[in-house]
Assembly symmetry: C2
Homo-oligomer: 170 residues x 2
């Protein structure tokens, strides 16, 4: 799958099949995240990979729209230091997450993001060091409905290019 | 170019040829950014496209390591609201930036990020509304050295997977 087609056809997948993700596929997805560029090559990310159903259930309760994590084959918690000190950390985390989700899509694996609201509970659940935080997590899994990966985009979901792009100045 | 190969072979390109980027190529890169997923489908991004050499020069002076913007064929300034209110905005901006840079790479166009430190100067330069900020910009252009796009990664530049990935808990 070429890059632009992957971007164009990527959908948020929230309902997953029971089928596990093979380890080789999972490692490729994680490597895609690891290989992202980052400000000053700081690579400020850690990925906590969760397959335990009880732990996924608890993590799914740490965000208001994170319920899909309970049904994921794999959850990947995105962990880094304190963003309030340095905004590029969170920007770079977004770059790594995008690499992982696009690679998953290429491999037929669906994914969707969840923001973590109850960071204290996620911190305890994942046994993070004092200076680390879990901001977000990604659900990965084969879609419950295999047709979901090819679903055409719903009309009107994205702002038009003319609303997004400005030429030379605002 | 498939997704994983694009991720694996993407290099930061800081020196650009004089050759302009065709409009069709540029629009594809911008669309790749526009099509990124975002928290609650908020699409919190604006892209200011800059080709004017004087404006690129001034923008290149708004960050400590942003000098490459002066030589870019196109600079894309990433603009959104105030990140201190809502960290996913910056995360989502990173997702859009990654989409643009991977698509550029697929199309033979090099790119590299610059963080904007002097946000007040960038704000004036780009004539942004009061409630918007420019956090970062991307330089795009064909590489001065065409071999640069195929350059193998320097050894030891990325942390090993075992340093990045944790299983079930930290």
């Amino acid at each position: 799958m070429n890059v632009y087609d992957a971007i164009r056809t990527k959908r948020a997948i929230r309902h997953f099949a029971e089928r596990p993700i093979p380890q080789e596929t999972l490692l490729k997805i994680l490597n895609a995240g690891r290989l992202a560029g980052s400000s000053k090559n700081f690579q400020p990310w850690h990925f906590v990979v969760i397959r335990d159903k009880t732990r996924l259930q608890t993590l799914s309760e740490c965000g208001q729209w994170a319920g899909h994590l309970a049904g994921a084959a794999v959850g990947v918690a995105l962990v880094t230091g304190d963003w309030r000190e340095r905004w590029p950390v969170v920007f770079d985390l977004g770059r790594a997450a995008q690499n992982m989700m696009l690679t998953a899509h290429e491999l037929g694996v669906g994914s969707v993001m969840a923001n973590i609201y109850d960071m204290a509970r996620a911190h305890a659940l994942l046994q993070l060091p004092e200076d680390k935080m879990c901001y977000a997590a990604i659900s990965f899994g084969y879609p419950a409905d295999p047709a979901a990966l090819q679903r055409p985009p719903r009309k009107g979901r994205k702002r038009a290019l003319a609303e997004v792009v400005h030429w030379e100045t605002w």
